[in-house]
């Protein structure tokens, strides 16, 4: 029984990572109807920036993370500004945007591959975390690290924060309006670019946070780590209902849960861990395409 609770906590921890990244996917899809393939690689960029700032330049952990998150958000804005925005303004067909997204994804991966080779040598580097987080805590006979307790709670707080942003602030109204009907927003004379940049900033910042948490759990960082995690996070977003922030978090938790608990009880399925996201995705597409939150874009938003 303790074993189950242990797996539960671990599952929620992993799930939080997927949830944070999935929020970014779902926000961008809601606003631009674009699946931002590069989002997973934004997470990788966050990890690398954190590594460079904290391990290489010796910044303190707290301020290092803070700066990392800001910079990751800026990188997100840059991808929008340099690639998506010119294409959107030219009225390019959807497929051009998707190809560009893949292009950015691959570009980031190869760029940081070169960076890693040049500056760190070709061996995998380890992301160091302050021991505060790794301290074991024991509750009712179940032991886990402090981090695995903090992370899910943090994610739920962030979810609350995003929902507050979306439903109680002007920026949020703008974002929801964009998701509803982007043409009319432009006709109202609102600068959609700033709103979209805001969306990218928030999404990328959260992806960076997810990445940093991931790096503390799986300390070996490599330039291609973003793609697989991004893929799974997107599957999580679809499971929860793409376009819904709550759905993204729920989907993330479900995926994390499934990935940890099933191999925990059926050890021989351990090698297929990565396939669960895919199976869930197909399942959802077959039986409930609008996801758990049932977001249907022609009617509801977020």
């Amino acid at each position: 029984m303790e074993f189950f609770f242990q797996q539960l906590i671990n599952g929620f921890s992993l799930g939080s990572i997927y949830a944070l990244i999935a929020i970014g996917y779902t926000l961008v899809y809601g606003v631009l109807r674009l699946i931002n393939f590069a989002h997973g690689d934004i997470m990788m960029v966050g990890v690398f920036l954190g590594f460079i700032l904290i391990n290489q330049l010796g910044m303190g952990f707290g301020s290092g993370i803070f700066l990392t998150l800001l910079l990751t958000g800026v990188v997100g804005i840059l991808t929008y500004y340099s690639a998506y925005r010119p294409l959107l303004e030219k009225g390019a067909p959807k497929i051009s945007l998707l190809i560009t997204a893949i292009g950015i994804s691959f570009f980031l991966e190869s760029l940081f591959n070169v960076v890693a080779n040049l500056f760190f040598g070709s061996s995998y580097q380890a992301f160091s975390t302050p021991p505060f987080f790794s301290k074991m805590v024991s509750v009712a006979g179940v032991t886990f690290t402090r981090l695995s307790l903090i992370v899910p709670i943090l994610t739920l707080l962030i979810l609350g924060g995003i929902l507050y942003l979306l439903y109680r602030t002007r920026l949020g109204i703008g974002i929801r309006a964009l998701a509803f009907d982007i043409q009319t927003v432009k006709l109202m004379g609102i600068d959609t670019n700033r709103l979209i940049m805001g969306v990218f900033f928030i999404g990328s910042l959260l992806a960076g946070l997810g990445g940093v948490i991931y790096a503390t759990a799986y300390p070996s960082i490599d330039p291609y780590m973003g793609m697989l995690v991004g893929l799974k996070a997107f599957a999580a977003a679809v499971v929860g209902g793409i376009g819904s922030v709550t759905g993204a978090v729920i989907g993330g938790f479900i995926l994390g849960f499934v990935e940890i608990v099933i191999p925990g009880f059926f050890i021989e399925w351990g090698g297929y861990k990565d396939a669960f996201a895919f199976v869930l995705l197909i399942f959802v597409l077959l039986f409930k395409p609008t996801g758990i939150m049932g977001i249907d874009f022609e009617r509801k938003r977020f």
Binding site: F37, I99, I104, F278
Partner: protein, 358 residues
């Protein structure tokens, strides 16, 4: 009023492109000429080119098959998909496992003994094996396409991307089927230069016939405005599925050729890199253009070789010097620049003879 309508219809008839609806004699002539010329070229080059050139050309032909079929789903039907590495892997493995004799397989499988079915199944005829590879790829594509196209084409890319990952996981985790990460080698090289050339010719002709048929026109309609086509009562789901499945078929065949051409295969050969390469090829050549894909293949494969110096630390130009991996950075940068400034590619979505004819 009637006079005006007649006049306008006359203009439409005049502007109708000759190549959209060819009369049968011109069409046959065109196909015949191209086929004969190419076969002549194959025969001549086989006898006069050196071994290395033939290898390079064979590789080129295989990539032409892959590019032309990938263009079918991406460029003609307009559904963004990332499937090649998965289906090429399936084709390659099916071919390899079918064509090897049971004794070879028994000896080669090092990690785990092969499943009796895998070990005993053996088909000697290369043509049959290639066909079966294509059909199996197509069947897998059918099962993938069904959940995706029923809903929203948006998800196709993610599903195919995930599928590519899954195939590798399955191949590595099931050594009793695939010999795991060690791969399958000593594959008989039934695919010599001439054979590959003929298969390429057939594949290109087949895809050309699909694109310039009523199916192809309908697929282009799906690309251009699916909602309008749907409103006209056309079954867009069927069209998308046909495009995707056909793509997978040819990619399976190409994968089988690749297995025989290289002689050994392993899961690491079929990574996302392959898909990305094909993507650059069809984008550069022009989405939706068959001759564009062919030209794109030549340009990109040639360019990859030419750009190899970027990976060499010995090269330098001013403040820049080569580093391993720099080639990929420049590669993806080229794709991004094409998408931003040169989106139509070299030939747009028309064929090369349409430009000459004007």
């Amino acid at each position: 009023m009637a006079k005006e309508i007649n006049r306008q219809m006359g203009e439409v008839e005049k502007n109708r492109k000759k190549w959209d609806v060819l009369d049968f004699k011109t069409y046959l002539g065109l196909i015949g000429v191209i086929t004969l010329l190419f076969i002549l070229f194959l025969w001549l080059s086989q006898n006069s080119f050196g071994g290395y050139s033939l290898t390079v050309l064979s590789n080129l032909y295989i990539f032409i098959i892959l590019a032309v079929s990938y263009n079918l789903i991406n460029g003609v039907a307009g559904q963004f998909s990332l499937e090649p590495n998965g289906f090429v892997a399936i084709g390659a493995y099916v071919t390899a496992l079918l064509i090897l004799t049971p004794e070879t397989k028994e000896a080669m499988f090092a990690i785990k003994d092969p499943l009796p079915l895998i070990r005993d199944i053996h088909i000697g005829s290369p043509i049959l094996v290639l066909l079966i590879s294509g059909i199996i790829s197509a069947l897998v594509a059918l099962t993938l396409a069904f959940p995706v196209f029923r809903v929203r084409g948006d998800y196709l890319a993610i599903v195919t991307l995930g599928f590519g990952f899954i195939i590798r996981i399955l191949l590595i985790n099931h050594p009793e089927v695939s010999n795991g990460s060690m791969g399958v080698d000593t594959i008989p090289k039934f695919a010599d230069y001439f054979f590959i050339g003929i298969v390429t010719l057939l594949s290109v002709l087949l895809v050309y016939n699909i694109v310039y048929s009523k199916f192809g026109r309908a697929m282009k309609g799906v690309r251009d405005d699916e909602d309008a086509l749907y409103a006209l009562g056309v079954n867009t789901f069927k069209l998308k599925t046909i495009a995707f499945t056909t793509s997978a078929f040819f990619e399976g065949v190409g994968g089988g050729l690749m297995a025989s051409f290289i002689g050994s295969i392993s899961p690491d050969q079929f990574t996302f890199m392959l898909t990305f390469q094909l993507l650059i090829i069809i984008v550069l050549g022009g989405l939706g253009s068959i001759s564009g894909s062919i030209i794109g293949t030549i340009v990109v494969l040639g360019g990859m070789e030419l750009l190899r110096f970027l990976d060499d630390p010995g090269w330098s130009y001013g403040p820049f010097h080569g580093t391993p991996g720099l080639r990929m950075v420049i590669y993806s940068l080229i794709l991004l620049l094409i998408m931003l400034f040169f989106r139509r590619g070299i030939l747009g979505n028309r064929e090369i003879w349409e430009y000459i004819h004007r």
